[in-house]
Subunit: 358 residues, 2 copies
């Protein structure tokens, strides 16, 4: 009989609940609407700059200040470059922000239904937390955040609900919490409305986090960034430099600059995506789906008769991947990424046939 | 009179001593021998694969398992792919290893003179540590590590001393500490001798960390990796997935595969570098320098009459950058990276003139 002996060093391993990323099927004929990737390619300048990259210079460390990209982001958002922090995707930026700012003994606050990494980082860094419930319609109850806390993080638009809360709701929360750092995670903001960026000069405790993964079609390059007052950004950079001075590689820096420079391509892409989202909303309604108004590049849908889990499985069998969360309150919903026109046509072709033949 | 008011949220900022990376002069005519970069370009396959990269696919997340690169590393080192963990440079891998394995209340151990990030990560994660002194010749005193501890990390070859300790010394330390995780940080091993990799099947508490930044000329791409038994690697992956599932970008994965595939280019590059190092040792001796035998792509030199700090400054004034550490015991030493033949010729041209005219 084999005995499983636990070695002493194993007892000191940090225990975490591993995050399960969305399925990444590698087959080519899959309709992949499960990880909120953008259906359009990055700005044309990205291809050009990568093809012309001086690969010999890869022998050198990249610029630890990520200067070129920080400057271009600052220019785009009309802030100072000391107000911009860049990391390896917004997950990296957010985790770094947790480590930097959430060091109180008081719990940090975030909604019960939101991005699944928020509690995971708390566990990882042993940060206490509380999760006030969203209301029945998945809306933020701002008064729940008017109490003593060690920090606040709110995704706006929220994931996976897709709901965008108005800037005045966000401002109320920030204004009621000037004693702690409030992080607004705006991964999907470009598909929604006004960013909390307009508030960073008024509130020095506000950190706004965004990403190149969604509206800039660069999930594969891993670029996220934070904007806030200079003290917040300096604190983030201090922790970053103490952790790993050289994070973004040379290719990501160059590609990022090109992606953010091309304002017209950016705007057109967003408009095209919102157009496809509108059509999808119409088709879904006709098929008996219900969903909140989306401020994101995905829809959070529930069907009046077909259980979400069943639908998820049937779609998957037909090579259409959407996201299903087997979690309290949302287990009858699917998160469906807005894909290209062609992908959505195939989705609806299947749904029409499946639902109308039931 | 202006009063500096400390806001309540500022009190919860994690305080760190920021690491100061080596100077990164951007002027083109600088002889840069200060950050241990490789003078040769990456393997030719790297340029090719980046030029042919499908940039449209950057809209998609990279493979979170970094499968292609993990497999290629496993193949190169003849280990199983479950024995390989990949991160954003070895700093990322090491910091993740600290967070994963060093969770005891007992202090972790590392030498007093070693890589400057080791104590910084301890401060960041609030890990207690002790730093047994290297002997007068900067050699490891292995008996200092035969005591109760929460983990051990040893750079071999060590930085900034360049000294390689024999595999039997390393094995003695690992064998005396089977109750804690022992990390051997082998950033420079390919310029030295046998890797501790040969011991990972014998000792399940041994983690070997290496990098693409030195011997594979890819500092600009940020790729580091760890090898060890499957339990150690799984624990690292669990923490990674809980932190940021998608770390290496698409470009780094593809470039990494090409860099490790080209065995011949790799070997030739190392041989060429060791050849230049031999010549440099000869020239330095003639100029009155002393230094330990190097197992790295740099030399750790002291001059019999000229103070290191003075020399550092004079070299810098002449656009030659080397590394000076204003630290106890090593403040009369310079760390000089082995550059290209041309760079070294210019260094010695200057040194000959400067020292002989004094």
């Amino acid at each position: 009989m084999r005995e499983e002996y636990i070695r002493p060093w194993e007892k000191n391993i940090r225990s975490v609940v591993p995050y399960v990323p969305g399925e990444q099927p590698r087959e080519k004929d899959v309709i992949k609407l499960n990880t909120n990737e953008n259906p359009f390619p990055p700005a044309p300048g990205v291809e050009k700059v990568l093809k012309n990259m001086d690969t010999d210079s890869l022998r050198l460390y990249p610029d630890p200040t990520i200067g070129l990209l920080v400057e271009e982001i600052a220019k785009f958002y009309q802030v100072e470059k000391e107000q911009v922090f860049v990391g390896v995707g917004s997950d990296d930026v957010l985790a770094m922000a947790y480590l930097t700012f959430f060091n109180s003994d008081k719990p940090i606050l975030f909604p019960d239904i939101t991005y699944s990494f928020y509690p995971v980082w708390c566990d990882l860094y042993r940060i206490p937390y509380e999760t006030p419930a969203l209301d029945e319609e998945f809306r933020l109850v701002k008064e729940d955040y008017y109490k003593d806390n060690g920090g606040i993080i709110i995704a706006n638009p929220n994931a996976p609900t897709s709901i965008y809360e108005s800037i005045s709701t966000i401002e109320d929360i920030v204004a009621h919490n000037t004693n702690s750092v409030v992080i607004i995670d705006e991964a999907y903001i470009d598909f929604a409305g006004e960013s909390a960026l307009s508030l960073i000069d008024k509130y020095d405790n506000l950190l706004v986090v965004q990403t190149f993964s969604k509206s800039r079609s660069m999930a594969g390059m891993r670029i996220g960034f934070a904007m806030g007052n200079k003290k917040l950004i300096k604190a983030l950079n201090d922790v970053k430099y103490s952790f790993n001075s050289y994070t973004l590689n040379q290719a990501a820096i160059l590609a990022g600059v090109e992606a953010i420079k091309d304002k017209q391509y950016f705007k057109e892409g967003i408009n095209k995506l919102i157009e496809i989202r509108k059509e999808a909303e119409k088709s879904l309604k006709e098929l008996g789906f219900d969903f909140p108004a989306s401020g994101a590049n995905f829809l959070f849908v529930t069907h009046k008769t077909i259980p979400a889990k069943k639908l998820y499985e049937v779609l998957k069998e037909n090579n259409i991947y959407v996201r299903y969360f087997d979690l309290p309150r949302i287990s009858n919903y699917l998160r469906v990424t807005i894909g290209s026109k062609e992908q959505m046509d195939k989705l609806f072709e299947f749904l029409n046939q499946y639902i109308n033949n039931k």
